[in-house]
């Protein structure tokens, strides 16, 4: 099919719509009366709420660390410091998402806007990576001197196996949760719910965008 044929076919579509497309004025007026936020703005309260809860938690753990620094056992202190650092990074991502929500203007050029929207969605994956990364500290914060002095070899071995396994899983997931692994079975198992689909599609879009921008011929 030649260019002119394509354009003429599209023009005949215009003609068809002109003759058959009906406009319901009353329903159009109803849209102007809807008292709802845009989809993007509706994401803001949840993010702000999560940040507030995160800050309260971080404040609480920071206070514990500062006040107990000289008396607490090193397992608790190191576990709490790692956990609070990772939570701070996750809060940072939520702040980044709020900034992106504020910056997105859908009347701006499409490539730029879609990139911001895709980055907004896909950054949620970073929060997941940080959540996995903090898993091992939940198996170490309670260890104290009394446990070390009175424990038996079986308990030590169990503790070591559980903690080392979680360290391995956490680090492995942190490194491997990325777009390139989206086809792998474990990835699809972890992110199989429909709530993850927009995030995975956003990753695909960012990848497509790279190709789109680099296309020269």
């Amino acid at each position: 099919m030649q260019d002119t044929e394509l354009i003429n076919l599209w023009k005949s579509y215009d003609k068809k719509l002109e003759e058959n497309l009906l406009f319901n004025k009353k329903n159009a007026e109803q849209i102007t009366e809807l008292k709802v936020q845009s989809l993007l703005a509706s994401m803001r309260p949840t993010k702000i709420f999560t940040i507030i809860i995160g800050l309260v938690w971080v404040g609480f753990v920071d206070l514990l660390i500062i006040n107990l620094f000289l008396v607490a056992n090193p397992f608790f202190l190191i576990s709490a410091i790692i956990q609070v650092l990772l939570t701070k990074l996750a809060i940072g991502i939520y702040l980044y998402q709020l900034i992106l929500i504020h910056q997105v203007d859908i009347s701006e050029p499409i490539v730029e806007t879609q990139e911001k929207l895709a980055r907004l969605k896909s950054s949620t994956l970073w929060v997941t990576r940080f959540l996995f990364l903090q898993l091992p500290v939940w198996t170490t914060f309670y260890i104290n001197e009394s446990m070390l002095e009175n424990g038996n070899i079986f308990l030590f071995a169990l503790q070591l196996v559980v903690t080392l396994t979680l360290i391995f899983i956490a680090v492995w997931l942190f490194i491997n949760i990325k777009y390139e692994n989206r086809e792998k079975k474990w990835f699809q198992f972890l992110f199989s719910g429909s709530e993850w689909t927009p995030i995975i599609k956003s990753l695909e879009f960012i990848n497509d965008l790279k190709v789109f921008r680099n296309e020269t011929h």
Binding site: D14, E19, F23, V36, S202
Partner: protein
């Protein structure tokens, strides 16, 4: 009230393009109606902020395409709409278009829907008669880049048609 009246009048004047963009990104009739509603809602939300120093068509295309591309990426579309209206704003009545034309249009739509989201936006704008500079402004690309992409997409469409005729 004047703003509302102006908006409704503007939408009525541009109903064809809104319908065509929604049709290009959503095949399912229910999803398409939801997308039309979302586009109209977003146009209304931004209507009073429209800067008249820009072309109205550029502004409208940007919003309609931005909404369509991000809407397309979502799952469970119906549940995500703000507040679905019971009836449609735009709908096609039974038409007397020839079967041949309808088949050709369905074929073209299918080919367009097989393209990536951004390529789809480019070909819609091209078929709508936008020049390369306007397409560049709407998408945020240089004229050279648009020119390259338009040629490549047209070539791909031609290949699809030629494979169909084999």
């Amino acid at each position: 009230m004047k703003l509302q009246a102006d908006f409704v009048k503007t939408i009525e004047g541009n109903k064809g393009i809104i319908y065509k963009i929604a049709r290009s990104y959503c095949k399912d009739p229910d999803d398409k109606q939801d997308l039309i509603q979302e586009i109209l809602f977003q146009l209304w939300k931004s209507f009073d902020k429209f800067d008249s120093s820009y072309k109205f068509s550029t502004w409208m295309y940007r919003i309609a395409l931005n909404v369509s591309i991000s809407f397309y990426r979502k799952e469970r579309l119906r549940q995500q709409i703000n507040q679905p209206l019971p009836e449609s704003v735009l709908y096609l009545k039974e038409d007397n278009t020839t079967k041949d034309l309808n088949n050709n249009l369905d074929q073209l739509h299918q080919f367009i829907q097989e393209l990536k989201e951004l390529d789809r936006a480019i070909i819609i704008l091209y078929l709508e008669g936008s020049n390369q500079q306007d397409i560049g402004e709407i998408l945020g690309l240089t004229v050279t880049n648009v020119s390259t992409k338009v040629s490549r997409i047209k070539e791909r469409l031609k290949q699809k048609y030629s494979s169909l005729n084999k």
